[in-house]
């Protein structure tokens, strides 16, 4: 086993996958707590489908670097979906569902009509389920992912108190002088960036798991926002690393393996919560 690990670590693609996987898992777990508490758990799914649609358009237009198109497109969708307002005619979950399904359908239709790929279903499958994407990153993509992840982490650390305030009580935060609209916009942009990055790790269809499971697992064990955030980050990183290593050694799809380990971690945290509750009684 150790010899196998040593062999695999000698390949740049495995090292790149671990570096980017850790950063993406860390970023998604931090914002996942905010999204879960704001009842926006499925925004990850919706935005990932929008990103898929944008990738399809970028492919049809033969854009060399699709991230330059996908990222702004997804940011725009995030702003539209997450902006709070009293006069939005289509509310939260319906808006997410419409944009999500519409983008997925239109994207796949465009790919079928205009794509020149030799293996369209394979490309779509890999994008949707993240079976291989994290292991096929170029050095430029690794640097880009790392840079964006560091930016997300810095933003979260710098604005941690304001994000906390806006998440728990937006009206009070606004009354206390916090510019809630600006921070909502910031959160929307950051979420869009994380979604686009996370598609490389687990694929479009499984992104919600990367956002939801670490936060929900942490909430089984901790009660404070800080405790939940830190626990969520640790769990997400550990599960991502284990998932990548297991998929590399055993030969399973990367995205599904990471999500399976996230599920196992959630069950363990539920058990720990049950035991703690039993001890208290």
């Amino acid at each position: 086993m150790i010899e196998s690990l040593g062999l695999y670590f000698s390949f740049p693609l495995v090292r790149y996958a671990l570096i980017v996987g850790v950063l993406i898992a860390l970023c998604s777990s931090l914002l996942g707590v905010t999204l879960v508490l704001r009842r926006f758990s499925f925004i990850g799914d919706g935005l990932s489908h929008v990103a898929f649609g944008a990738m399809a358009i970028a492919g049809v237009l033969h854009l060399t670097d699709d991230m330059l198109f996908v990222l702004p497109f997804t940011v725009l969708a995030a702003i539209l979906l997450l902006r709070t307002g009293q006069n939005t005619k289509i509310k939260g979950d319906a808006a997410v569902a419409m944009i999500s399904v519409g983008a997925l359908a239109v994207g796949y239709l465009l790919l079928n009509l205009f794509s020149a790929s030799a293996n369209l279903s394979g490309d779509v499958c890999s994008t949707l389920f993240g079976s291989m994407s994290i292991l096929t990153l170029t050095r430029t993509e690794v640097w880009l992912c790392a840079a964006l992840s560091v930016v997300v982490l810095v933003i979260f650390i710098l604005f941690y108190n304001r994000i906390f305030a806006v998440t728990f009580d937006e009206d009070f935060a606004r009354a206390a002088g916090t510019r809630a609209e600006a921070y909502n916009l910031l959160i929307a942009v950051v979420i869009a960036v994380i979604i686009v990055l996370a598609m490389n790790l687990v694929g479009s269809l499984l992104i919600s798991a990367l956002i939801i499971f670490p936060a929900m697992s942490a909430m089984r064990v901790f009660r404070s926002f800080r405790g939940v955030t830190v626990c969520s980050a640790v769990l997400s990183v550990v599960c991502a690393v284990l998932g990548i290593l297991i998929s590399v050694i055993v030969g399973t799809p990367v995205g599904s393996t990471i999500v399976a380990i996230d599920i196992a971690a959630f069950l363990v945290c539920c058990a720990v919560s049950g035991i703690k509750g039993g001890i208290r009684k």
Binding site: S131, M132, L135
Partner: protein
């Protein structure tokens, strides 16, 4: 005079014997497979697929390296040129995305000696790229081919 001739004959025979030994050594060397730089047969399907994908994306990293890979034999003939391409196909973990690595079996032209398409084979060859028209392709040259009968 006869002693000199016998000595010359003995030296000549010794020289011939040495040359024969050198030929045998060369033959043994030729028979030994080259040292493998990248043995994909020892890895999981996930890494194999990703590694072959990387060969296509960053071919310079693998130029001249001896690569060993196992997969299914695939044969395709260009309908316009009639050229036959043989490749070793591997599948990713979800079995939805095949990735192929073309190879040239040293001393053999398809179908001479080749097993049937779809046979599980192991190919060992030197990675190189070549141009066809405006497109660059990658393949394993001077390859050896192994399969279970």
């Amino acid at each position: 005079m006869k002693r000199i001739l016998y000595m010359l004959l003995a030296i000549t025979l010794c020289g011939l014997l040495c040359a024969c030994g050198a030929v045998e050594t060369a033959a043994e060397t030729a028979a030994e497979p080259p040292a493998v730089d990248l043995d994909l047969t020892r890895m999981s399907s996930t890494v194999i697929f990703a590694q072959i994908n990387r060969m296509m994306m960053v071919p310079d990293e693998f130029m001249g390296k001896v690569i060993r890979v196992s997969g299914e034999l695939d044969v395709w003939q260009d309908p316009e040129t009639g050229v036959v391409y043989t490749s070793c196909i591997v599948w990713d973990a979800t079995a939805c995305c095949p990735q192929g690595l073309e190879f040239l079996w040293a001393g053999h032209d398809y179908p001479d000696g080749f097993p049937e398409a779809g046979t599980a084979v192991t190919v060992t060859g030197r990675f190189e790229t070549y141009m066809e028209g405006a497109n660059m392709y990658a393949r394993l040259a001077d390859a050896s081919l192994e399969w279970e009968p």
